[in-house]
Amino acid sequence: MSDQVSLGLSPERAAERVAESISFRKRRENRFLFLGKSAVAVALGFLVLLFAGILSKGIPGLFQHYVTLDVQLDAERLDPSGQGTLESLADGDFDGVVRDALYEALGGPTGRKAKRQARKLISSGSGQRLMHHVLDNPDQMRSKVALQFAVDDDVDTFLRGLISRDTPEADRRVSDQMISYIDLLQAKGRISYEISDYLFFGSASRDAEMAGIRGALVGSILTLLVCIVIAFPLGVATAVYLEEMAPKNRFTEIIEININNLAAVPSVVFGIMGLAVFIVIFGMPRSIPLVGGIVLALMTLPTIIISSRASIRAVPPSIRDAALGVGASKMQTITHHVLPLAMPGMLTGTIIGMAQALGETAPLLMIGMVAFIVDVPSGVTEPGTVLPVQIFMWADFAERMFIQKTSAAIIVLLAFLISMNAAAIFLRKKLERRW
């Protein structure tokens, strides 16, 4: 008995047990593989659902219906003082001229009620649009040109088939009279469905058919510029100091822990801090990209510091030794060798931080970037808004057409994000060096 124990298992018996355990191990591996695959499948499924949802709503949002009108550019009516400048054009009766062109296209409606119904067909910003056209093309004055004007958002919704003719007239926002006009215009081939220039070149507007993202896009770009200009140098400098120079003591340990904690602070808290410090104490104006950029920079700093430190740590110590060994100073070692080798990782971290900042809404609400601003900001100290806030505002509006506009803006935001991530991958591949 004791002899058997001391001899251990016989090879035959051991082989049997191994065979048993192998089938057990295989079952376990298969189970794990199955779980992993199904997790990926579920994730992919949701991704597909997300994109299908956004694209199916958003792609129609990139288009809208236009009506083509033959407008008589009557110099006396449009530019009474004849100077062709913005100021003199402001006195012109552009709305009247567009209206007359519309009446003409409809075969001359008679009576105030009919005319009022006709006017409701086109966007209330049509006069404005004509003014800009005249300003850009002064040589067309005194001639008759065919121009496209956006139809009113209710008419657009009707043309998309989202308002049924069978609904009782009192319950729908498009009257019978308007429907007959729309049919008339369609029969004449004056209604077209085209890529929306309002979406890309228009600014915030309460009228859905004229609302565009240009102001928000420019605001986003300005805010991100401020953010990167502040966050990148600060983040890299902090990472280099903490990783290469700071003495390892209790104090730097506390700083490190707090930086890591900052990465987990809800972004709205940074907004409150921005409001309290930059707007209340420093008296900076509200809703400007400068303050927004500073707040987002504070928010992305921990991300940049953490990823920069990781990439500095990934630089092999042998390279540092080599540089120090030929007599490079600490600073030369860092600037000549460590930083260039760590740069791809740092840039990747920075761009990921920027992508995070691009999608941030909450802190910007706190500093007032939710204001309704029609003008496109021309600088970082001009009031503006940003894409995600614009989406947030549009999602709040009741008009049906804003649903499509919102989805279209989300597509633009996603395209922005994807191109930033692509840039990160491209930079990393380009700068990566092997040793």
Binding site: P247, K248, P316, S318, I319, R320, D321, A322, A323, L324, G325, V326, G327, A328, S329, Q332, H336, H337, L341, R433, R434, W435
Partner: protein, 283 residues
């Protein structure tokens, strides 16, 4: 503790006299024409006593090799000679290491200048991920050794020639140094070290990552370089120490046990621990 165990083990397998660590180094710690002089050097890593009261002269124009089992402090002592230990936070060095009658641990010494005078070649070839030319030109550039492009080209060429690499790389100086073979990389690192014209070159097991052919080339190179430079080499290969060095120092558990002419140390060691090590009885 560890020492007691190893001594006990040796005692049971050997008939030689008891292995006790001597109070002071045996042999000749002085050199006729010293380039560097270490006196009573102690090194601590936090609480660990890594180097215990070592005094040693590094003779001018000589090759001295440090041998000893792993963890005996030979690399630590080597790295003291150009203050590479400064990069380790927990490391403390006491005692004196003199170069030209100046203590290199004196606060008035510029460590950058010191490392330009005392160059180093590491265990693992570590060329910069830059071109071959830039690897060699880096030192001269940061120290401002060349006043013109022509001069810099000349420094790079002579350094590569002295390192025996010129013929192999002269047509591809703009290619990355990391693309060379291991042996070539190590010779590139030697070229990089001699490009700043140091007085002393420290080599920390320069051949441990190389094959025998590349090792032979490096050894040949060391024999040629001894004409101009003082060389300190740490090695695990007894044959290498015997082949390339003029003097040999044997380290054991942070102590310098014995130092003397290489021939004498290998043929007639003064201490039993040295004899055990060089005959392969332990370590």
């Amino acid at each position: 503790m560890q020492l007691e165990e190893s001594s006990r083990m040796v005692q049971t397998t050997s008939t030689l006299e008891a292995r006790t660590i001597p109070d002071s180094t045996l042999g000749q710690i002085h050199a006729d024409n010293p380039r560097m002089k270490a006196r009573n050097v102690d090194v601590f890593y936090a609480d660990k006593h890594a180097i215990d009261n070592i005094s040693l002269d590094i003779g001018s124009g000589q090759v001295i090799s440090f041998i000893g089992p792993s963890g005996c402090g030979k690399s630590t002592f080597l790295r003291c000679l150009n203050r590479m230990n400064d990069t380790i936070d927990s490391c403390r060095v006491s005692g004196e290491i003199m170069i030209d009658d100046q203590n290199i641990y004196d606060s008035s010494i510029d460590v950058v200048l010191l490392r330009a005078r005392v160059g180093m070649v590491f265990q693992k070839p570590n060329p910069f991920p830059k071109s071959i030319f830039d690897n060699v030109a880096y030192g001269p550039r940061i120290h401002g050794l060349a006043t013109s492009k022509v001069e810099l080209d000349h420094i790079v060429e002579t350094s590569l020639q002295r390192a025996g690499l010129w013929e192999e790389v002269k047509d591809r100086l703009d290619q990355p140094g990391t693309g060379l073979s291991g042996g070539q990389q190590q010779r590139l690192c030697i070229a990089r070290a001699i490009a700043v014209s140091p007085e002393v070159i420290l080599m920390d097991e320069p051949c441990s990552a190389l094959d025998p052919i590349a090792t032979a080339k490096i050894e040949e190179l060391i024999s040629e370089l001894r004409e101009q430079y003082t060389i300190v080499i740490v090695t695990h290969s007894m044959q290498q120490a015997a082949r390339v060095s003029d003097r040999t120092a044997y380290f054991h558990l942070g102590k310098l046990i014995e130092v003397g002419d290489t021939k004498q140390v290998f043929t007639n060691p003064l201490h039993a621990l040295t004899q055990d090590y060089i005959t392969g009885r332990f370590g």
